[in-house]
């Protein structure tokens, strides 16, 4: 749900007035509510700095090399402020570059809780050193790290090739903390100043530190105070922004840095605004622009046919990212560089990161393959939480299902129309006056009866729990948070308050571990009244959304303990989802896997659940953009992504709704949702033909759940994305580099949803020279490396299975995924031109951590080679028993055998009946009947 607009009838008059003032324009974002780079003082200051000679110089004499890192001081020759550079070589082919002030006036914020551990290091060895710099070995592949002293820059090379350079355009800029010297200085200023100067006393006598003050005198607007619209940001710490540039020779394609409603391949930002990363509740966002949205993951991937790399800029403050192509000036290398600059035609992408505060802490993931980068990033921030199987099924949501009767009627509607679903969702109206953890007692007098009714049908519910807490002395949650001092504080030290759904609200300080522990405890069954084990949670508005705050979010000078919101803004949403997920785990005694959906996120959020693309609209462009938005998230670790099916704002045409179901059925998080003001749109409200179309799309999802589950297991296990751009699997196929109207699920399914109104055909690109693809509906075989025109009707969902793959499905689609637990599998074996295929099957109980803690799972490898299909154990250390068996094997691209023999380890052999469709070369083996967890072989003769 959400967006910050409700019917005026439901809001206080003050808010209505405010909204009336705030909202102009009906169906588009009001850009005036959100800052451009020019309106964000630090971005404007930083962007005014143009590429050129860097004022920074490395003081090589300060170099220290230990087993784990290299440290070195940098000095800004203009103001004499010294920085401390730390370089780490990390296990798994990564380099970490940290730059902080050598002696900051007070500590600068370093992002906690995002890295899953202190990344293990490997020793750096010094290859050479002279007055111009040092050369360090990065171990494998003759990779070297070159530190140039004057001007300071870093180059990472492999052989004679520069992979990446830092500060090559001289855009390293580090605004050191300082004492306010303009007229508005507070009375304590003088006192502080003395302390500061004492603190800045140079350790060595060679520099006259006092001289740096000259540069400090330059005070610009917005350094110590900034006003946007009616909001003034007091900046007690003054300017503190940081910036660094990265040059990527040979690179033309960069991706990632979600969340933006933009194309998969990032665009050059020259002449426009940079991509902005600042978690915001953007009302009615527009597609194809670089404005900030609900979440921020400061990770960019670069890709060329030769190599894939990643840059992880670990900073949680407001961040802007500039991208330009082939604009870097000619670079001059030190004498020691055994390198001759290539021709000027070499493509190059230059990237510049700018953040408002904190430190520079960059992880350079050197790939070289896309899969390597995913593993490298996963080793830093963890992998996708493995969701309960049912969370991968279909979710039915609306703002709002009005009461218990409504819930029962919708639930029954699905059965009456034979459409499966697993979760029904309750938005904010289910609560008692938007007091989360409570129920509206008129509308939901017996929540447990309702939940039991769903449980009886093996279905589940999600209720919304937002992080804004109604300020109301008769509300237990508020009273406890207030009395424990857990609220975020305003700059004056009192509890920070802002307007949100319940009216005046407080915002718990989720950065505080004690607060999070308390919050988690509120999900205990005896705390959250009316909750049951089949009730899960949705955290909306966790940017956080503050209706009357600057840019509809929290004031940057609000305080989380000692830190300003400015320092950690983008991290708030992650903490909310984390505390909630921990609550769901704890309530089950650590047994059950949680499911939590959140709107705001940061690097590492993948560990806590699912995200969605927020308050989109029922427009064809929003359907289209759902693909690049989720692909971008997948590239940076967040696989469990989806868009509101049907579109949140506005009412979709029937055609759009059907197409959205067809697309959503093949995206990871599959949930229909609708705004309060829109007409009802349950799947059966659009006539029998459309009900049938939607039923078919949802059924395709359910049949494919075994494959989805396996993909999520891999995402959890190794960090490989579930939904992938084509270039991830075909990294040398330049035709795929900017493709974002189709995608892969895992390696083996290619989906090209129909996202054009009135489409009569789509052109899908089938990659892979010498490969083949099979239409999953007709089993028609197509060659790879071609653009294939596919005529479509309203029932078409173009999906292709890669020749060489084996995909398990469950053909018996039932009311909910739980009902299908023990059902048999059908294996779809798509043969490669060399008559080979491979696939997997993963099975566990579908909802507990036993797969992890007790290795209770089945993981099989299916291989087809030499006319024999076999199943063998991929995880010998694991154990799990399943009732499921193999009911059918469909071999695509097969030839007709004379007989098919099933062999089991006990030596038994039995003949299988089969059918052969010569026109499509499809061989169907009837009822092998073997248990899905056992070894077996089918031999074709």
């Amino acid at each position: 749900m959400a967006a910050f607009v409700v019917s005026p009838l439901k809001m206080g008059p003050l808010l209505v007035l405010w909204l009336a003032v705030c909202l102009s324009g009906t169906w588009a974002v009001d850009r005036g509510n959100f800052k451009t780079c020019d309106q964000s003082a630090f971005c404007k200051r930083q962007r005014a700095l143009k590429p050129g000679q860097s004022p920074y110089r490395a003081l090589l004499e300060t170099l220290e090399l230990t087993n784990t890192k290299l440290t070195l001081q940098l000095i800004n020759d203009n103001n004499k402020v010294r920085l401390l550079l730390e370089l780490y070589r990390l296990q798994g082919n990564m380099t970490r570059v940290k730059i902080n002030e050598l002696k900051p006036l007070k500590p600068r914020f370093e992002v906690p809780d995002v890295l899953i551990n202190d990344p293990p290091t490997e020793p750096l060895s010094l290859l050479s050193r002279d007055e111009n710099g040092v050369v360090l070995s990065l171990g494998a592949d003759s990779q070297r790290l070159i530190v140039s002293a004057k001007p300071f820059r870093l180059d990472i090379m492999e052989g004679r090739e520069v992979l990446l350079s830092l500060n090559s355009r001289g855009l390293l800029a580090f605004e050191h903390l300082r004492i306010r010297k303009d007229t508005k200085v507070d009375p304590e200023g003088t006192e502080n100043k003395e302390e500061t100067e004492a603190a800045n006393e140079p350790a060595e006598g060679e520099e006259v530190w006092g001289e740096k003050a000259k540069e400090d005198e330059k005070v610009e607007d917005g350094m110590w105070e900034e006003t946007f619209k009616s909001h003034t940001d007091s900046k007690p710490n003054g300017p503190s922004s940081i910036s660094l540039d990265f040059s990527l020779p040979g690179v033309e394609n960069v991706y990632g840095i979600p969340e933006h409603a933009d194309s998969l391949k990032l665009k050059a930002t020259d002449g426009g605004d940079p991509y902005r990363l600042f978690n915001l509740d953007v009302f009615q966002y527009e597609v194809f622009n670089p404005m900030a949205l609900y979440g921020a993951i400061p990770v960019m991937l670069s890709h060329s046919a030769q190599r894939t790399m990643g840059i992880f800029w670990l900073n949680a403050a407001e961040t802007w990212v500039d991208i330009s192509s082939n604009t870097a000036g000619k670079t001059v290398f030190g004498q020691m560089l055994d390198y001759v600059q290539g021709s000027s035609e070499t493509p190059q992408t230059d990237v510049r990161w700018i953040s408002e505060s904190g430190i520079i802490d960059v992880f350079i993931m050197l790939g070289p393959t896309p899969a390597d980068v995913f593993s490298q990033y996963a080793s830093l921030t963890g992998t996708q939480a493995f969701p309960p199987l049912s969370a991968l099924a279909y979710h039915q949501c609306r703002w709002n299902y009005n009461d218990q009767e409504d819930v029962a009627a919708v639930d029954q509607g699905f059965d009456d129309h034979d459409i499966p679903y697993d979760f029904i969702w309750l938005d904010i109206e289910h609560t008692d006056g938007k007091r989360y953890f409570t129920w509206d007692h008129h509308k939901f007098p017996q929540p447990k009866d309702m939940l039991q009714g769903l449980l009886d049908k093996r279905r589940k519910m999600v209720t919304i729990v937002d992080p804004h807490i109604k300020v109301d002395s008769s509300y237990k949650i508020h009273n406890e948070i207030r009395s424990k001092g857990f609220y975020v504080k305003s700059k004056d030290g009192g509890d920070y308050e802002g307007w949100c759904w319940p009216g005046n609200s407080g915002y718990p300080d989720f950065t505080n571990p004690e607060m999070r522990a308390w919050w988690a405890s509120m999900f205990a069954y005896d705390q959250y009244e009316g909750s049951m084990e089949n009730m899960y949670t949705w955290n909306d508005m966790n940017e956080p959304s503050v209706f009357n705050g600057p840019e509809v979010t929290m004031h940057k000078d609000a305080l989380h303990g000692n830190w300003e919101n400015r320092d950690l803004h983008n991290l708030y949403g992650l903490y909310v989802q984390r505390a909630t997920a921990e609550g769901l785990i704890e309530r089950s005694g650590g047994v059950e896997r949680p499911f939590v959906l959140a709107r705001a996120f940061f690097a590492g959020s993948q560990r806590y659940g699912a995200v969605w693309t927020g308050d989109n609209a029922a427009e064809w462009d929003h359907l289209k953009i759902s693909i690049p938005m989720c692909l971008s998230l997948g590239l940076v670790g967040v696989s469990f992504c989806g868009a509101d099916v049907g579109g949140f704002f506005k009412s979709p045409s029937t055609e759009l709704l059907v197409r959205w179901y067809q697309t959503g059925a093949y995206q990871p998080f599959f949930r229909a949702h609708a705004h309060l003001d829109t007409p009802r749109r349950e799947p059966w409200l659009f006539g029998p033909e459309n009900t049938a179309l939607i039923r078919e799309a949802v059924r395709q999802r359910y049949a494919l759940l075994p494959y989805w589950y396996q993909l999520f297991y891999h995402a959890h296990h190794s960090g490989q994305p579930v939904m992938r751009p084509l270039w991830v699997e075909y990294p040398q196929d330049t035709a795929t580099f900017s493709m974002d109207d189709q995608f892969l699920l895992g390696r083996d399914l290619l989906v090209h949803p129909v996202t054009e109104e009135g489409a009569r055909g789509v052109t899908a690109y089938l990659p892979g020279k010498g490969e083949v693809w099979f239409d999953v509906h007709t089993f028609q075989k197509h060659n790879g490396a071609q653009n294939l025109y596919i005529p479509v009707t309203i029932s078409s969902i173009p999906v292709f299975q890669r020749g060489g793959s084996i995909i398990p499905r469950k053909a018996r689609v039932r009311r909910s995924s739980s009902c299908m637990e023990h059902d048999p599998y059908t294996l779809f074996v798509a043969l490669s031109p060399k008559r080979f295929a491979q696939g997997e099957l993963y099975i566990d109980d579908g909802h507990t951590f036993n797969f992890d803690k007790q290795k209770q799972f089945i993981h099989r490898r299916f291989s087809f080679a030499n006319n024999a299909l076999s199943s063998r154990n991929l995880a010998p250390g694991s154990q799990f028993t399943t009732f499921s068996w193999v009911e059918k094997i469909v071999i695509l691209g097969a030839s007709k055998p004379s007989k098919a023999t099933l062999k089991t380890p006990d030596g038994k052999e039995s003949l299988l009946e089969f059918e052969f469709d010569a026109s499509m070369s499809v061989l169907t083996l009837r009822k092998p009947g073997v248990n899905a967890g056992l070894d077996w072989t089918v031999v074709l003769q």
């Binding site: 034979d418 008129h442 829109t678 007409p679 009802r680 018996r812 009902c819 009911e887």
Partner: protein
Amino acid sequence: MFPNCSLGHCHIIIAVVLWSICVDSRKIRGISLSYKRFYRERKSFLCIDGSKMIPFDQVNDDYCDCVDGSDEPGTAACPNGRFYCTNLGYRSHYIPSSRVNDGICDCCDASDEYRSQTPCQNTCRNLGQRERAEVEGQMRVLGEGLRLKQQLIEEGVLTWREKQAQLRDLQRVSDDLQTQLDDLRKEEARRKEEADALREREIGARETADNSPTSHYRPESPISVFKELDSNRDGSITVDEVQAKLSPVQDEEHALSEDEAVALLGGVHRVDLSRFEETLWTSLRTGDNVTIKGRHGVPGSLADEDPNIKAAVSAAEKAAADLKRVEDAYETVYMEIRDLREKLSIDYGSEREFLFLHNQCFQLKVHEYIYELCPFSQVTQKSASGEVVSLGKWGSWAGSPENQYCQMRYESGEPCWQGPTRNTMVMLICGTETALRSVKEPSKCQYVMELQTPVSCQPALRQRGIHSEL
């Protein structure tokens, strides 16, 4: 057809004949009696759509062979299959095959969960009893509802006739008034013309006379009137003299009472000239109440000068007043006719059974709101604070083509914020009394109400009974 074998009702004689069939068909799970003929055990089974022949032991073997799903009536193997719940004691029905052994009890006889871990109880007997009781209850309601409906139809017929008669009456009145209006318009015009003509002449004459000192049209002074009234010339006017010389304006024949005379003299029985000027003279000047007998008009006015003019003016005024009165009456009647015609043009059902709802309103309180439905007029919502919001005005019948009278649409209510106007669908359901039963807002500003009323009872409902395999 055949008695159900599982009940052991086979008579011995026919049991011998039917033995093999009984035994064979017992194996076939999930089919109804009428389908048993497709599943007689032979070597092979022909899919019911005729598409394929399979060995009979592949029927219900948990693998789908037939594209029509007919080989697996008792398992979940076919995506398009269906399973027959016999439900002895209750209603038999089909469920989709996907509900067989899915861990959820669907058939009340528990037959769909023969291989799942979910323990299902046979609840058919209870359900059957409950349903029979319900159906009986419904039948009673229906019977009573239909009886009431008949009454309401008859009342409706009377009301309709009444309204028609009323319309005819009003029409007649209207016609009468129309005739009167024509006459009165003429009369008024004529009178006005007369008075105007006289007045013009008089004004013309007076203008001439004003220039002559001998004119008897000079205005009268209080002294001259005093002298005229003072019959006994004693320098004062008494009650007797007032009674003798003055009369009420409206009725010259009527004499003034003593009290009236005293009142005219300012509460005394005798006045001198100066007192006269303060009391009776003022009354005479205004000419509202009293006048000097044999004179018309106010002393000093034109009419006062000329009784003819006074009479003509008065007659014109009277004619205008008469016209106004009849015009008003006509207007009223015209509006009434229009309203009545409008009401009579509404579709009150095939037998005008909904006519009685007209002019009635029904209320229901839901939490803090009071909803009011005035059929064929409007729907409103009143909040606790007293604010009334229109949820729609009568639009049309909106039921299905088969029964368009089962739903009413009220539209164009108050507009919603950022959205369309409010509207309300009223679903009409059979009941023994007429009352608003529920109000919901499934989508924002789209309301759904249930109005229970006998006139929505349909005789067709009677045919719905309980089928069972008993």
